[in-house]
């Protein structure tokens, strides 16, 4: 029994030309209590639409939705009263890309707004709001207006506000997308810390795989409204089944940026770029040399990186391999035998077709 259970969820939008956009199509997803569950995919994949069905900001056109043991939607029909939904929503925090703070009230008033129906007295609300701001390390900014804070600070206020009613679930929809790398890291660390301290379940939507690798323990990959792959982060990263997933798990942005800056001209028939992902512990350090010895191809390194995934070092390599078609096939077979996830890319870092 998951804390969030989505079964056969569909969301259709009417299009201008009387056609229907299937923004979310037959999605099944169970999120267990205590998970930090990443949802990744390119822009327009349907990530936001999907997670917004969890607190019914988006009403689905079909399927079942059950959160925290309460049925929200059964067979596409809302089975929770609007009043109860209001109460249930207070136990599902949500943060957004644009922070969405109220700009005409102070930081502490923003947090207090979430506590309006908590039954607490005014001074208790104030006290609790300040405590929440302390949790996100912003107590000294309590009397500021949101516009006077940096993006990272505003997002921390939004986190304090989302946690005010002690929710069990926190949904983060691209919460770090508007932030620079430093602030992104800070917010991700904060989420991880809060998850442990407050016993949260976190759903983290992003188009950045690196954010998922930093804090998630499970991940679902979305494409055109469907979940094409899901599971433990380690399994998905090391053994991706779907080709899109394969390109995604490499930390795509850095890889793409590296390739762009290398400015490779069109490759000839005898050259191919591969992205290799592997658990450093399981793979002999000499695969590139082995490749030359066993198959006789030269592999030049374009990019290399090692990241910790739950304390396990995971390597990402980008190599340019020279050799004819047969050699190329042998290369892939050899690497796969060595437990390396191999994805062929083109010179722009996209999937090779």
């Amino acid at each position: 029994m998951g804390i969030i259970e989505l079964q056969h969820v569909n969301v259709d939008f009417p299009d201008k030309k009387r056609e229907v956009v299937h923004a979310v199509h037959d999605v099944n997803l169970t999120i267990e209590k205590g998970d930090i569950y990443g949802v990744v995919g390119f822009s327009g994949a349907g990530k936001s639409t999907l997670v917004r069905t969890i607190n019914l900001l988006q009403k689905p056109s079909g399927g079942n939705i059950k959160v925290n043991g309460t049925d929200f939607i059964k067979d596409g029909k809302q089975v929770i009263s609007n009043k109860d939904l209001q109460l249930a929503r207070r136990k599902i925090g949500m943060i957004f890309q644009n922070f969405n703070l109220l700009n005409e009230i102070t930081v502490v008033e923003n947090v207090a707004f979430a506590l309006k129906h908590s039954g607490l007295k005014d001074n208790e609300v104030e006290e609790k709001s300040l405590k929440l701001l302390e949790l996100v390390d912003l107590k000294e900014k309590a009397e500021f207006y949101p516009a006077q804070l940096s993006g990272g600070q505003q997002q921390r206020v939004a986190i304090a506000r989302a946690l005010a009613n002690e929710p069990d679930i926190l949904i983060s929809d691209e919460a770090t997308s508007a932030l620079d790398p430093q602030n992104t890291q800070q917010i991700l660390d904060l989420l991880k810390k809060l998850k442990d301290e407050l016993n949260l379940t976190i759903v983290l939507i992003t188009h950045e795989m690196s954010a998922v690798k930093k804090i998630c323990d499970k991940v679902a990959v979305m494409q055109q409204g469907e979940i094409i792959e899901k599971g433990n982060l380690r399994d998905v990263v090391l053994h991706p089944k779907n080709t899109l997933t394969k390109s995604f798990v490499g930390g795509s942005l850095e890889v793409i940026n590296t390739l762009k800056s290398l400015n490779l001209s069109n490759l000839n028939d005898e050259e191919a770029i591969y992205q290799l992902i592997y658990s450093v512990a399981n793979v002999t350090k000499t695969i590139i040399i082995d490749l030359y010895r066993e198959i006789g191809v030269e592999a030049s390194m374009l990019y290399g990186n090692v990241e910790l995934l739950d304390d396990e070092p995971i390597g990402t390599l980008l190599v340019l391999v020279k050799g004819d078609n047969e050699k190329q096939q042998q290369t892939v077979q050899f690497l796969e035998k060595e437990q390396v996830a191999v994805t062929r890319l083109n010179e722009k870092g996209d999937l090779y077709e």
Binding site: N55, L57, Q86, L87, A88, R89, R90, I92, G93, M94, F96, N98, N100, L101, L102, N103, E104, I105, F113, A114, K116, H117, Y145, P146, A147, Q148, A158, R161, A162, A164, N165, I171
Partner: protein
């Protein structure tokens, strides 16, 4: 000084300060009409503006019937020229105010004349509130009343101050026309005692007073709009 004034503005002095035709009376009448019709028309306008924003297709409480009803009422009243509205709703005025002429009677057409204009301005001001803020409030379990007062009206308050200023200024213009039903006021003074009696000095002073009044409203409005805004500073 006063002898110079007597010479250049003889009729202005003749009208006197107090009394039915006095300047104090007409200033008071203009302020009275502007104030109370701003209150009544303002409340109507805010109510209609809020309903329009809440019940629209992607609103917080989508409802085609209420949206269309309010939308049509606002559109129809906006389409009626004020001077025609004065005559057109005279029977209604009779019922509400007990008379068809005078300052109190003028409040009915003034309020009804200004509210559709204001309702549209309120609608636009409220729609400028980022949809994301509404969603964030909903995700916190906010009630519809919370969303109306804490999100829509409060987040748009600077914009509301601005459109209210515009509305009050056009309302001062309407009070001048209300002179047609014997409402008194500076507009009435300018027309009845100035223009129609060829007393150009009276017309001039009455106009000047209206302009000063509008300036004062504008200055207060600008001040409020600026000081109620904490969005991007």
């Amino acid at each position: 000084m006063s002898s110079w004034f007597n010479k250049v503005f003889p009729n202005v002095i003749n009208l006197g300060w107090t009394g039915d035709t006095g300047w104090a009376s007409s200033i008071y009448q203009t302020l009275f009409m502007t104030f109370w019709s701003a209150i009544f028309g303002g409340i109507l306008g805010i109510v209609f503006g809020v309903i329009l924003v809440l019940t629209k297709e992607n609103g917080v409480k989508p409802n085609k019937f209420w949206f269309n009803l309010c939308d049509k009422i606002v559109s129809i009243f906006r389409a009626i020229p004020f001077i025609i509205l004065l005559a057109f709703i005279a029977p209604v005025t009779q019922i509400i105010a007990g008379t068809q002429i005078g300052m109190n009677a003028a409040l009915v057409p003034l309020s009804l004349g200004v509210f559709p204009f204001y309702a549209r301005q309120v609608q636009v001001a409220l729609e400028s509130v980022d949809q994301g803020k509404i969603e964030a409030a909903q995700s916190l379990g906010a009630t519809t009343w919370d969303i109306i007062f804490n999100v829509y009206l409060n987040e748009a308050r600077s914009e509301l101050a601005r459109v209210s200023t515009v509305t009050i200024i056009s309302l001062i213009g309407l009070t001048a026309m209300a002179g047609a039903i014997g409402s008194g006021g500076l507009g009435n003074t300018a027309i009845s005692y100035g223009y129609q009696r060829f007393n150009n000095d009276v017309t001039f002073v009455a106009t000047l007073l209206v302009v000063i009044l509008i300036f004062i409203v504008q200055i207060i409005g600008d001040f409020l709009a600026k000081h109620l805004n904490h969005q991007n500073r």
